[in-house]
């Protein structure tokens, strides 16, 4: 009877990271980390599983009801696999509130899970860089976060015109809705949802939705159009804005100019952001390529991060950048590097007697931080070289009986198709100086 075999497919909406995929993931993470660290941000992490209460309290019903991986553990606790990192970081910060010197600058690259239909750029398991600063309620914090967010893309080789940062402020919407349009809170919420999806619906649909939401004001659409077209220079023409909000926006944009970022950052009142918890500046970074015209990542300021855990107030600002989104951006702009195994040295085994000499040679290279793949079974040279080629190795160290006796080795360069006999030390020296 034939045994039933299991499928080798991975779980829907996830990825297997084979070595070539893992090299890319490691590259993406290391560049992101390097930039965050260069700004003095410290890495943290929390557990993959949290109490469901953490998400129930924070997010809307949709997530808890449908998109979250929640279950009851064997001890009867309601738990969830983290769908986002903010509740975890809030819990951690709240637990050490008195001990952490401020500002608290933290980053993490957690894997997050959401139960949703997998699609372009949307997976059930993905990784997301989270960068946050807590304890500084001053626009200089915004300047630092914007600068860091841009530097990440620059570190991957992005040009200054490949993306744009669009910035607004929560008060702008609130004040315009309340005092400019005289909306009730529910109407304001509805209109912000309409603005958030404005680019995905037709102009007629948009007008119909606005008119339906604000039936009492026939000029609402034109007022909103005027609001959306406002610039930093004429911001005072938006009806309902307080002097304080205008001042905040002017301060930020003047700072961005001093920082040399004003050619990348736009004031854009249409930026809404989905989450309700943003309380100050909000921003989104857009890809400018017509092939990938979408929001890459965004964030903003939230003033009551730890309210779920403590009566103290703590202001924070941060953003999240997903690995799939980042990879799509880099692909679109031709910025994905060619990551190979070229730095690994290969020692084929020509005859069984040279195995231990080869081990000694390998040990010497490894001690000098050069990776060595040592063949374990003597085979025909052609077969072993074909293996090395498939693996993408550049350097081959050939150690026959004669070489072992003379303490030499034949160093073969698969890229330049050359070879020479060298003393062991000289071979190591040569490889080290050529390592990329």
């Amino acid at each position: 009877m034939k045994e039933q075999k299991l499928t080798t497919a991975n779980y829907k909406g996830t990825r297997d990271f084979f070595p070539e995929d893992m090299r890319l993931r490691n590259y993406l993470f290391s560049v992101m980390k390097q930039v965050a660290v260069s700004y003095g941000y410290e890495e943290y992490d929390g557990p993959m599983i949290e109490s469901l209460d953490l998400y129930r309290a924070k997010t809307g019903e949709e997530i808890v009801g449908k998109q979250i991986y929640n279950f009851i553990d064997k001890g009867g606790r309601e738990v969830a696999i983290r769908p986002e990192m903010t509740p975890t970081v809030a819990r951690m910060v709240a637990s050490k509130l008195r001990d952490l010197p401020r500002p608290i600058r933290w980053f993490s690259i957690p894997n997050l899970w959401r139960y949703e239909q997998p699609g372009h750029g949307r997976l059930r398991e993905h990784w997301q860089l989270n960068v946050d600063m807590f304890g500084v309620n001053h626009f200089r914090a915004e300047l630092e976060i914007f600068s860091l967010a841009c530097d990440i893309l620059f570190a991957f080789g992005a040009s200054r015109n490949s993306f744009r940062v669009k910035v607004s402020h929560r008060s702008l919407l609130d004040e315009f809705f309340k005092s400019g349009l005289k909306l009730k809170p529910e109407q304001g919420q509805e209109v912000s949802k309409i603005l958030d999806k404005k680019n995905k619906i037709t102009g007629d649909e948009y007008v119909a939705l606005v008119s339906k939401t604000i039936p009492e004001d026939a000029t609402a659409v034109s007022k909103i159009d005027q609001f959306l077209a406002a610039t930093v220079e004429n911001i005072q023409t938006i009806p309902g804005l307080t002097g304080e909000t205008i001042q905040k926006i002017n301060d930020l944009f003047s700072g961005l100019k001093d920082l040399g970022l004003s050619d990348i950052v736009d004031f854009d009142p249409s930026v809404v952001r989905g989450f309700d918890y943003y309380t100050g500046f909000i921003f989104e970074i857009f890809d400018t390529s017509p092939k990938n015209k979408r929001s890459l990542y965004g964030g903003g300021r939230y003033d009551n991060l730890i309210g779920l855990f403590s009566n103290e107030e703590l202001s924070g600002i941060g953003f999240g950048l997903g690995d799939v989104t980042l990879q799509n951006f880099l692909e679109t702009h031709g910025l994905l590097p060619n990551l190979s195994n070229a730095n690994t040295v290969y020692i084929p085994l020509l005859d069984d007697t040279s195995f231990f000499a080869a081990q000694t040679l390998a040990k010497q290279f490894r001690a000098a931080s050069v990776a060595v793949d040592l063949s374990l079974q003597s085979q025909k040279m052609g077969k072993q070289l074909s293996y090395a080629e498939k693996k993408g190795y550049r350097w081959i160290l050939i150690l026959g009986e004669e070489e072992t006796k003379n303490q030499t080795v034949t160093l073969k360069d698969m890229v330049h198709r050359s070879q020479e006999e060298l003393k062991w030390d000289d071979a190591l020296q040569k490889v080290r100086t050529e390592l990329s």
Copy 2:
């Protein structure tokens, strides 16, 4: 009415990694990675969630029934959070069996979940280095794996007498039980379980268990004692062993001698290992400290890794090393390094006007891969220095109005309690040469 606050405690059996914990985790992972990479092993990863079938088929009922985090997803699929990496790596290898050049040398450091009572060294979420080689059924693969396993501890600074590798072979037990003791298969399984827990029970309990399991042979205890005391030199005195098994053990230990590892590796017939799937050599690495006398990690050869997925056979050998176990070992032997923020440079803000000059200075340092924490709010010098001290920074760059005008900076060394005024470039040069 007072709002109910949530607890800041993390989920039972897990850890929050605050920056100081994360520095340690990053250090542990980076050393492990570096050694694996130096042997030509390539990193891979799989999803956190797999189909429950993968574990149901592989492991015993105990895990699937009790210790595993399994649940039904919102699409009705039976899934589990991975409790171990072997089923995932088997699935991945099976899915690309024809494309992967052999030997396949892979490693990963996944987080794994088991539902168990948290205790010393046992957590619900932990990380485990998995190192495996597939496609070489030759004892040189064992030599490489043993050598790599030892080199990991050496790379952390472990001395040669701080641990021992104990090695046995599955056939040794099988042949001794079947031909030496003439046991039925169920009796053999029972005796191997007794041997596995021999160190945790009293001598009397041990004798009673053996006598109960093998009532038909009054000399069973003394025969087993003789078996357990066997050495490589007198291995042929073990009743029931085939010449093939004796040869395998002799070959391995002769190889270990040539490799210079025979002072660390012992032949020890009492090594059993819990899992049923090992088919060849099995090994465990023990801490020799009386304070932490326990098995640190182990592994062995399993010959039908991909049998669940394919009719092809593929031989593998590997081991798993948990992060908690490793950390306990390093603590016991005083090998945990002091990982600080000393490499980060701090720029206090003395007056608002120097903020953008400080930004320019920070940018120059960051571009040279020096991390900079730039203060965002002007405060008294004492308060800012106290922050720098709490953060563990060594270098402070003081940029007042005078310095900004002269393009100089006062570089303060918090370790040597000294300071000097330098040109920006010279300050950067000085910090870079002193970076640890």
